[in-house]
């Protein structure tokens, strides 16, 4: 799997913009700069960096408006590799920079000083591959327990389980204080740490946030992840491509269909199989329904965080109606595994279109009700306006995507800007953007997105034409050797899939770039100088799904 296989550089004539980027990259002393075929690999530019050139390259890309997509590790066996993906918001020009290190001396410079969003990505790569990022201020295990001594995603690791030492069930408090390095207080009094989670009503699952508080004021906080880490990426290396699909359901259980879709889109990009027009229309209809149902859960739980209980039950009732349609169409309420490579797994049932139309009518009546009950409520406005402001630059540095990004005034939606389904180009809809960047803006984005989704569904229903619901797929499904990236827009943001295929029936490495990961990371930087109640509101407003982060 050398670079020459994955890139089709020479056949493509660079456009003016691409030429400009090529010039930029070549000025950065990077090696192996190549233009890659986006439609086949999902990446536009390839480059190889080493310890010396990496920070400068990252810095230059940041100055040119690139956001950090993701950092992932690959065990080349022998040799480790860190892959950095960058992307500007303007269009889909994605830059991939590889940095190779030897497994026995796996050292790379950190880029956390350039992209604050690199923090957790580097920690994850350190967890999984043991690459040490020099200069990283807090290189502790992120997903794995702090006492683990192995790197599970290395190829020479064969699943020896985590052994919990008898005496280190809890992380000692002293260690925490040293690790937090907050230092905003004078140390004349005892610091007060508030441990939120893993069992806490508003951490949306098993997230743990350690808050450093002074009375009601929060001085800082750190998230502790991994309480729902299930080793999906390691499992994926042992499973056939088809068998991985059910795991995608269980990553984001609020919108499993969008995850199915993302995975199907990845395989379609990698194999060149195209889904049928009928399937595309069904995908849009059902995928947008999933988005609405996910946003409904967000609205309900967000209001629960703010102390209002009733909207939660209203939202769940509406969601039940959507789930009923899902169940009839896919056979399952939540873990659908419905959208597969080449189309959908089975055709929709006879009354599907009518059912969805009824649902649309119902939802169109309900959404204004939520506006009246929630969005115009004075207490709600008080609790959310000006709270947890994410600036556009901050969002870019942190790699935030989805409604959180659009709530910060960045007009970026993969459905429009990196089309993975032709229908999104043809149908009439708008990308919802709000400027303020606070909790209220994020809420408004989601509320209006539900409206847009309903419009999309209505149009997509008309496009469900006669024809096969699924393309022909070879029985022994294989992916040609190469590296592929595909990104789709889930309800929480960009769901990216990075596949390293070796030509067999199982992936060599499958990395899922989940939207909640950077979206939660940004919370850490919003916490300082807020109130305890604000932490809950901020966390609720970014809408995270913990098993998706932990994988």
């Amino acid at each position: 799997m050398s670079d020459s296989e994955t890139t089709v550089a020479l056949e493509i004539k660079p456009t003016a913009y691409q030429q400009q980027l090529l010039d930029l990259l070549s000025s950065l002393h990077l090696a192996g700069i190549q233009l890659s075929d986006f439609s086949k690999t999902g990446v536009d530019f390839d480059a190889v960096a080493n310890s010396e050139t990496l920070p400068a390259a990252a810095s230059a890309l940041r100055d040119n408006g690139f956001a950090l997509d993701c950092i992932l590790g690959i065990d080349r066996n022998p040799g480790l590799e860190a892959v950095y993906l960058f992307r500007p918001f303007a269009d889909g020009a994605r830059v991939r920079i590889r940095a190779q290190v030897a497994p026995d001396r796996a050292l790379l410079p950190t880029i956390t000083g350039i992209y604050s969003g690199a923090d957790w990505y580097e920690r994850e790569v350190h967890d999984m591959f043991g690459i040490v990022f020099e200069g990283h201020s807090h290189l502790r295990p992120l997903l794995l327990p702090h006492f683990t001594n192995f790197h599970p995603l290395r190829k020479n690791f064969h699943g020896s389980p985590i052994v919990i030492p008898e005496d280190t069930v809890e992380i000692p408090e002293v260690d925490l204080q040293a690790a937090m390095k907050l230092g905003q207080t004078d140390r004349t009094h005892r610091d007060f740490f508030l441990n939120m989670g893993p069992q806490h009503p508003s951490t949306h699952g098993v997230l743990r946030i350690l808050l450093h508080v002074e009375g009601e004021e929060v001085l800082g906080g750190r998230c502790h992840l991994g309480y729902s880490h299930r080793g999906t990426e390691k499992l994926a290396e042992k499973k056939q491509y088809v068998q991985i699909l059910p795991y995608t359901d269980r990553m984001d259980y609020l919108a499993p269909l969008n995850y199915n879709w993302g995975y199907a889109a990845l395989l379609e990009r990698a194999t060149g199989i195209e889904s049928t027009p009928r399937a595309e229309a069904i995908r849009v209809a059902i995928g947008e329904l999933a988005r609405v149902s996910s946003h409904l859960v967000w609205l309900g739980t967000f209001m629960l965080d703010l102390g209002a209980i009733t909207p939660f039950l209203f939202c769940f009732e509406d969601r039940e109606r959507i789930l009923t349609v899902f169940e009839r169409a896919t056979g399952q309420r939540m873990t659908t595994s419905y959208i597969v490579v080449g189309g959908v797994r089975n055709d929709v049932y006879d009354g599907f279109i009518q059912d969805v139309r009824d649902l649309l009518d119902y939802m169109r009546k309900r959404l204004p009700e939520y506006d009246r009950l929630v969005m115009t409520n004075e207490i709600f406005l008080q609790r959310t306006r000006g709270v947890g402001v994410i600036t556009a630059q901050q969002a870019r540095d942190q790699g935030v995507t989805g409604p959180v990004l659009r709530g910060s005034g960045v007009d970026f939606d993969l459905r429009r800007d990196e089309p993975y389904c032709p229908l999104y180009q043809e149908l009439k809809w708008n990308v919802v953007v709000e400027q303020e960047g606070d909790c209220l803006a994020r809420s408004r984005v989601r509320m209006r997105e539900m409206d847009e989704s309903l419009n999309l569904i209505e149009q997509a229903l008309e496009r469900i034409e006669e024809g096969p619901y699924r393309a022909k797929i070879p029985r022994n499904f294989k992916v040609n050797a190469g590296e592929y990236y595909s990104a789709t827009e889930g309800p929480r943001g960009m769901v990216g899939w990075y596949l390293v295929a070796d030509g067999s029936m199982t992936p060599y490495r499958l990395k899922v770039r989940v939207p909640s990961f950077p979206n939660l990371q940004v919370v850490e930087s919003l916490i300082p100088h807020s109130r305890v109640a604000d932490v809950v509101a901020i966390l609720g407003s970014v809408d995270v799904v913990i098993p998706e982060i932990d994988r």
């Binding site: 991994g226 039950l313 769940f316």
Partner: protein, 179 residues
């Protein structure tokens, strides 16, 4: 991967109770016991505690359409000190297992556990070779009264489990009843 490699937070066979306040009764007064069991069965306050996908179905079960409050099991308590029923809804991994044990220990007796979904029963789809993180079932950590299969189980299944648990409490067949 064999079991002897796994070192888990050790579950004593009879660890359904904390030490304090659990003296075996000297005199059993049957009518009172019956009345208490009846009350306990009809007032199962679950702990607000979801780990993964199944938690959403647990929430759905408590929401309007399924409404576990009808059976007296809808008062979700956030503090384990006030909860009677722990619904383990989701995958338990090595990092989480000690915390589940601790939460269980924090609950006052008598207490009951429902393992909701395949993951809580046996690790579910994640219990595969080379998986290093997932515990093969929450019954390795806490004593489980009812197992609910499904991935995730439907809310009706959870309601059924609650009703089944009520029957068991009334007939004294739970881990907590066997002092």
């Amino acid at each position: 991967m064999s079991d002897e490699h796994r070192s888990l937070p050790v579950m004593q066979p009879d660890s359904g109770h904390t030490d304090e306040g659990q003296i075996p009764p000297i005199v059993r007064f049957l009518p009172l016991q019956k009345a208490l069991d009846l009350a306990r069965a009809n007032s199962l306050w679950p702990l607000t505690f979801g780990i993964a996908c199944c938690a959403i179905e647990m929430m759905a079960a408590s929401a309007s359409r399924y409404d576990t409050d009808r059976f007296g099991a809808g008062v979700f308590r956030n503090s384990p000190r006030q909860a009677d029923l722990m619904i383990v809804a989701g995958t338990v991994n090595m990092k989480m297992a000690p915390i589940i044990r601790r939460l269980y220990d924090q609950m006052p007796a008598p207490k009951y556990v429902i393992a909701l979904g395949s993951c809580a029963i046996c690790g579910g789809p994640f219990d595969q070779d080379e998986n290093y993180a997932v515990v093969q079932g929450v019954d390795k950590v806490v004593p489980v009264d009812i197992f609910v299969p499904g991935c995730p189980p439907r809310p009706e299944a959870l309601i059924n489990a609650i009703l089944e648990l009520q029957e068991r409490i009334k007939s004294g067949q739970t881990h907590s009843s066997r002092v």
